[in-house]
């Protein structure tokens, strides 16, 4: 409860007493009732728009859950089993140098953005400088080999798109990392768990508590992002973006906005970017650079993992950095 009070963000309720028991019982009753109603009525709720909404929503969650689980397992393993000294030594002592190294290290985490949020949190808890951990958070989903390979396939005969994505994503991630080194304050970031308390506990206990804790923090917000994105998927009139494609700057902003709203996995976003043929290559690049760094589900997960005070500062800066780097790389390369 103290942590809830300190962060001013967690509205905890009843960790003991009557409410603590009522909550689970109510939730269990709701789930069982839904199962009964669902199996009796076949499809209790119907309609093509609602059906498409449900399918898109569930697909975002189902696609993301394995990556989130992988991410929280890695994060918890870092927290529980990696010695503090090793985590500190893995990166250059020099902070300005640690940022690009962390960005390049992002190439080693094969996954999409859902995995990188808890891993960055784990790195910070282990004493890695926030600037370096945040650079890793931004770079990993965009520059890992799986994502670059998907981009290569999605833009056949256009290797400059893959190169542009690599350069612009790394550039934006490093720029944000350096900016954080200069201006960032650690009190903006709310991290769970005290290092000292954890050190006294058995490692296995620390590990599984961290897995559960990180999953609950990010998972609920993942659902928020999935719901918003699914609403947009079925509610926006089709082809609304087409008329904006002709305009150079507006086109870039429109696709960047779409990337934020659509919440597509970084492993798949290149195929969607390729489908925006009416738009300039720079706009397509912006879609692929912004998406893995800023989207509704990521924002929600960052609020859940690092706190609101962090997200309101971090998200706009990242968005601007991603747009500027896309514009520069697009102008120079595409």
């Amino acid at each position: 409860m103290e942590r809830a009070a300190v962060s001013g963000h967690d509205h905890d309720h009843g960790s003991g007493g009557g409410l603590g028991l009522a909550g689970p019982v109510v939730l269990l009753v709701v789930l069982v009732a839904a199962a009964v109603v669902g199996s009796l009525a076949g499809d209790a709720l119907d309609g093509p728009r609602l059906g498409a909404f449900a399918t898109v929503f569930v697909s975002i969650v189902v696609q993301a859950l394995p990556f989130l689980v992988l991410g929280v397992l890695l994060s918890a393993a870092i927290v529980a089993f990696v010695p503090r000294e090793l985590a500190a030594r893995a990166l250059p002592r020099n902070r300005a140098l640690a940022v690009p190294v962390a960005g390049a290290a992002g190439m080693a985490l094969p996954g999409c953005e859902c995995a990188s949020v808890p891993v960055a949190s784990g790195l910070m808890r282990k004493g890695v400088a926030p600037a370096a951990a945040l650079t890793f958070l931004l770079a990993a989903p965009a520059v890992n080999p799986i994502v670059l390979a998907a981009t290569w396939v999605a833009f056949p005969g256009r290797p400059e798109m893959t190169l542009g994505r690599l350069v612009a994503s790394l550039g934006a991630a490093i720029a944000v990392g350096w900016l954080w080194t200069l201006l960032g304050r650690s009190e903006w970031i709310r991290l769970p768990g005290g290092g000292a308390a954890e050190a006294e506990q058995p490692r296995w206990l620390v590990f599984r508590r961290a897995v559960g804790h990180d999953f609950l923090h990010a998972g609920g917000y993942l659902v928020v992002g999935g719901l918003l994105s699914a609403v947009i998927n079925v509610a926006l009139p089709p082809h609304w973006v087409d008329s904006l494609a002709e305009q150079a700057i507006l086109g870039v902003l429109v696709l960047a906005l779409l990337a934020v709203l659509m919440c597509i996995c970084s492993e798949a976003d290149a195929f969607v970017a390729a489908s925006f043929t009416q738009f300039s290559p720079t706009a397509q690049l912006a879609f692929m650079v912004v998406g893995p760094m800023v989207d509704l589900k990521l924002i929600a997960m960052q609020v859940g993992t690092f706190g609101r005070a962090f997200a309101v500062r971090f998200v706009p800066v990242v968005l601007v950095a991603a747009l500027v780097m896309s514009a520069i790389v697009g102008w120079a390369l595409l």
Binding site: D10, G16, P24, A34, V58, H217, A230, A268, A274, G304
Partner: protein, 236 residues
């Protein structure tokens, strides 16, 4: 948030993945290759539920402030939303994306024709092709490999808002959130109900596909029969 509540949230996430994996409904949402990852994740989440349930039991016996506690209090209420995906598949019958999405989406340009042109279609009359393969051969290659060949394709019916209907199949790269439609305009056959699955035999209408700017080729139907929805409704 109490440990017991946490246990149920882990359990509902595990149950969601387990149900979709067991019923095969996961194919409505993600690619077939995801199955092992879904099963592994369900197992991890189930283990978390068991541990949280055990802790809840211990707390109930020893009181909430037993020595090894220290985490878990301060879980955001948003975590309750983890039950929503399971509620969704329980209340809204899982179904693949259908005509509603096929009408709205716009497909990307098909992958360019392979260097040296397409391989000829395999022997057979009619020869089985996928909707997306048919579209690609008609729009990118100019269609010489389709000319004069009877083909049979499976897909669902989507009404064309401008009249007539399309034989459609949704194509996904990763999950259903990135799905786009492959569409073929059907000539010479009455429209089945929207979302009805059919096997359609017919011949490419020469010249259609690359000429109209919409990249929707046409097929002249000479046979159509209803089929059950395939287990794997999306194509690559």
């Amino acid at each position: 948030m109490s440990r017991a509540l946490q246990a149920i949230l882990f359990l509902s996430a595990a149950a969601l993945l387990a149900r979709l994996a067991v019923t095969g409904e996961y194919l409505y949402y993600v690619k077939p290759a995801m199955l092992p990852a879904l099963i592994a994740s369900a197992a991890v989440l189930l283990a978390l539920a068991v541990f949280a349930g055990r802790d809840a039991w211990a707390e109930a016996e020893e009181g909430p402030d037993c020595a090894h506690d220290g985490h878990g209090h301060g879980t955001p209420r948003a975590a309750l939303l983890l039950a929503v995906p399971l509620l969704t598949v329980l209340l809204i019958a899982p179904a693949p994306l259908g005509a509603f999405s096929a009408q709205r989406g716009s497909p990307p340009p098909p992958a360019p024709a392979p260097a040296g042109g397409f391989e000829p279609l395999p022997a057979g009359d009619p020869v089985e092709v996928t909707v997306s393969e048919f579209v690609r051969r008609a729009t990118e290659g100019g269609g010489p490999t389709l000319a004069g060949r009877r083909v049979v394709m499976t897909g669902f019916a989507t009404p064309n808002p401008d009249g007539g209907w399309w034989l459609t199949r949704m194509v996904i790269a990763c999950c259903a959130a990135d799905a786009y439609p492959a569409r073929i305009a059907v000539r010479g056959a009455d429209a089945p109900p929207a979302d009805a699955w059919v096997a359609l035999t017919g011949t490419w209408v020469e010249g259609t596909g690359s000429d109209d700017g919409l990249l929707i080729p046409a097929v002249a139907a000479d046979g159509i029969e209803p089929i059950p929805q395939p287990a794997s409704p999306y194509q690559r």
